[in-house]
Amino acid sequence: MKFKIIAVACALVLMGGFFHVDRAPAAETYNLGVDLARTGAGAFYSKDGIDAIKLAVKEINGNGGFLGKYPIKLFIRDSHTKPDVAVREAKDLILRDKVRTILASYSSACAVAIKPVAEEYKVLHIAAISNSEDITKVHFSPYTFSVVPNSYMQAKAVVLGVAGLAKKKGWKNYVTIASDYEWGRSTQNNTVELLKQAAPELKLKKEFWPRLGETQFTSYITAIMAQKPDFVIGSIASKDNVTWIKQAKAYGFFDKIPYPGSLISVSELMLQAKTLTRGLVGLCRAPFFAHMDVPMMANFVKNYRAMYHQYPSDWAVMEYDAVYALKQGIEKAKSIDSEKVKDALKGATINTTRGQLYFRDIDNQLSCSSYIGVVADDPKYPFPIYHDLVEVKGPDSWRPKAEILEARAKEK
């Protein structure tokens, strides 16, 4: 009898312990919001970015999460590539899902729209695909960071290359074609302004503004050819860029008119592996093949390929870096509190797949490079990559601090 009582008592104690363990509060999660375009013009680039974020989260959660004790919980929303939807989703992520950081966005218009929302609710906002310089230049928010070379940096990189080519080839005039929205306008304006300074003798003959989501560029192609420019500068991205390149090629456009320094990201290199014109001089933001000597990049490429059976695009690289930038900010702050992380990231030097880079304190812009090269086949990859790659470093291409201060003074 005594034995039975002791046995039951032991069982109760064990059960109590069991239930006690079960009732213990679950580890606090770090709610991470993603507000990227799963539909609309930006879906093509955003998918790779989301895949990379998932990979980074998996890796970090494999070690217990941020600081080894805050597992990341992902909340992914579709901005539809529309600013109003992006804002609605950002608010929902903050208010309902209690996210501490929002990773965004494909469209610069979306990023610019999300910025004040993040600031109002004191939530971190990292732009990793969209790159209008207005995201960090004016209406500055200390909560918004950019890990992508912005439109000014990219324009400067293009200008450095194009001005040299213009001198060498005796070019006198050019036309531009840019998607008619925030990023297209911003990039085109910056390029034209910088070209005026670098090569004042070059004359801009005409500007073309196809709408975002254009499916037929034929009229633009023939209109540009009618202008007979010495060269064309384009600022078209994502699926519009794929369509533009495909249709322009079918006109023999690239054989007739030089098209230097326009965005041809790793996505386009992979998607149009067979058809892309070799010898084009293109621009990209984060080509993995430029940094395979960086262990973090080599590791990322290996894991990304294992998980998704393809090479990472620029967008994947930058979103992956965004998650790890956040991780390093949290580690530096020794806290997941967004205020502390924001302060820790300001001016911080971080390790990225693109090497060791730093956030400029005046605008939270990462000192990342832009890349210009010649599209060419490479036996190492099943798609063309850039040869004669020129890496234009962030500090050599970003807008001077004085100009940023001047722009901010004007907005007041």
Partner: protein, 294 residues
């Protein structure tokens, strides 16, 4: 600016117009006969492009892959259209316009999600066969050879539809049904079957248009919403239910867009809407429509 460049711009406008005609003709046909404003029409067009991609992908080793994929996609969409008409559209014939629009808009959302499930969110590319990969030179000016094919398809569909509606018994019945369903029904002709056939034909043309669009650029989600407004503009300008009107309006919209890009690039899209607004004010039933349809 020499004549050859003006001609090239005209051809660009014509190819754009024919692409719009291929989309808008089915929309106009369905509205003209069935009085259904199918907001999901452009989504069927997009599905046509995806289905064409699937067929092409399965046969891509063969030279005929694209040429066979285009009709196969159109036929697949026609079958899909039959099912949609029987299951959904048939139930709203006697409802008012807002309810019809609500249903067809709901179809847009459902079909877009269906596309995501079946084909994913990645862009799809159809490579062109060598025959239409390189430019052709017309008066010394290069022109995308594939768009010659697009223009020919547009003209063939216009001619085929005209012949079908004017010269065949089935076409006569359809035209009669536009004016008096009751009379056609009193003659013992089953109206529901006519409607199913017309809807399937409209979706067949949408599928054909989508398949033809496939090799033009990349196939991606959201393309339907970008084009549907222009298709509606074409139908409004031409007059709801008028095949000739749709054809003429398509060419007008294509050419206005093309030449405004040449002379006033900033206002290209605005001009189309200005033309549409003017037509709505001056002639609400469109260029070739009838006042009873306004």
């Amino acid at each position: 600016m020499d004549a050859s460049l003006i001609f090239a711009q005209f051809m660009s406008g014509l190819s754009r117009g024919m692409m719009l005609f291929l989309i808008a003709s089915g929309l106009s046909l369905i509205f003209g006969v069935m009085n259904i404003l199918n907001f999901a029409h452009a989504t069927f067009w997009l599905i046509g492009a995806y289905v064409c991609y699937t067929f092409w992908h399965l046969m891509q080793g063969y030279g005929f892959a694209l040429w066979l994929s285009i009709p196969l996609a159109a036929v697949t969409l026609a079958a899909f259209g039959c099912i949609i008409e029987v299951v959904l559209i048939r139930r709203v014939y006697n409802r008012n316009l807002p309810e019809q629009l609500l249903l067809t808009y709901a179809m847009v959302l459902v079909l877009d999600d269906l596309i995501k499930i079946v084909w994913g969110v990645s862009d799809k590319l159809i490579e062109r066969p060598p025959l239409v990969a390189d430019p052709v030179f017309i008066f010394g000016t290069p022109f995308d050879s594939y768009f010659i094919f697009v223009i020919l398809i547009g003209i063939a569909v216009a001619g085929g539809l005209w012949w079908f509606l004017k010269k065949t018994r089935y076409g006569h019945i359809i035209r009669a049904a536009v004016f008096s369903r009751e009379m056609v029904s009193a003659l013992g002709i089953p109206i529901p079957r006519i409607y199913t056939g017309v809807f399937a034909l409209g979706i067949f043309i949408a599928g054909l248009a989508g398949a033809v669009q496939g090799p033009v650029g990349s196939i991606t989600l959201g393309m339907d919403m970008a084009i549907v407004i222009q298709a509606f503009c074409v139908v409004v300008i031409g007059g709801f239910g008028s095949l000739l009107g749709t054809f003429v309006a398509s060419v007008i919209v294509g050419e206005v867009y093309s030449f405004s890009i040449l002379f006033w690039p900033e206002g290209a899209l605005v001009l189309i809407f200005i033309v549409t607004a003017l037509i709505l004010i001056i002639r609400p039933w469109g260029l070739f429509g009838t006042p009873s349809r306004a």
